[in-house]
């Protein structure tokens, strides 16, 4: 069997600017870069905490640098976009059946938001206690 050679019209590099939904798609894809940045930032924090109180103070001073705050505010916006779009997809990705009944998508969505709230509250409580 020979491979088909189909004509593929070239796609411009700015295809994602043509429709709002394309733009949201690309922004959602880009959120992964900010998740990777968060891992770097988290490891910087853990490294400082694992050193000594002076290193932790240095980390806190560094984190107050305006450029870093701006980066982290942008990263937070992307990470929240990731969370909202991720939970929005969950009811489509998960089909849970109880006997013959399918759990309604709205319930799965609400359960994810409830879990998000609980996890965030527990983390905040552990950090701020």
């Amino acid at each position: 069997m020979s491979a088909q050679r189909l004509y593929r019209p070239p796609v411009s590099l700015t295809w994602w600017l043509r429709k709002p939904s394309y733009l949201v798609f690309v922004l959602r894809e880009l959120s992964s870069v900010f998740i990777a940045w968060f891992v770097v930032y988290l490891l910087m924090l853990v490294y400082a905490v694992g050193s000594d109180p002076a290193a932790y103070r240095d980390f806190l001073d560094l984190s107050a640098n305006p450029a870093l705050v701006v980066l982290n505010v942008i990263a937070l916006a992307f990470v929240v976009l990731h969370a909202v779009t991720w939970f929005g997809l969950a009811p489509k990705a998960m089909v849970i059946r109880l006997g013959a009944l399918r759990v309604p998508p709205g319930v799965i969505l609400a359960a994810h938001y409830a879990a998000w709230l609980v996890v965030s509250a527990v983390v905040a409580w552990v950090v701020l206690r």
């Binding site: 894809e29 870069v33 998740i35 891992v39 988290l42 490891l43 937070l76 990731h82």
Partner: protein, 118 residues
């Protein structure tokens, strides 16, 4: 006879678990340590307390899982960002090596940094 299996299902599983833990844990942590403490909205925990929290086995396990899964989530999604967003699908071999190699290297660094905090 050997069958060549695609690693894609495994990579997708890592991607989706990473997406879930990142969605659950990253917003609150980034809000606290990246925005609220630096801007003085909340006062950060002192070193002794945070060191005791970080060195707890459960925290170490959660943070290690978060780092590894989030990095593999990044690797998978960023690979497709480069394929689709920048139309680089013809360079898929170096892109794949860069993304998953980065995730593996990052996971090793995460393990070393976390073990050091014990």
């Amino acid at each position: 006879m050997t069958t060549k299996r695609s690693p894609e299902p495994l990579l997708w599983l890592l991607f989706s678990s990473g997406g879930m833990v990142a969605a659950m844990l990253v917003p609150v942590l980034l809000f606290l340590f990246g925005v609220a403490f630096p801007l003085g909205w909340l006062s950060p925990p002192d070193h002794a307390y945070l060191a005791s929290v970080v060195s707890h086995p459960i925290t170490l396990l959660v943070l290690f899982g978060l780092c590894v899964l989030a990095l593999f989530h990044w690797a998978h999604r960023f690979r497709y960002t480069l394929y689709d967003g920048l139309q680089l699908k013809k360079h898929r071999v170096p892109i794949t090596i860069l993304c998953y190699g980065g995730a593996v290297a990052g996971s090793i660094v995460a393990a070393l940094v976390l073990l050091r905090a014990i």
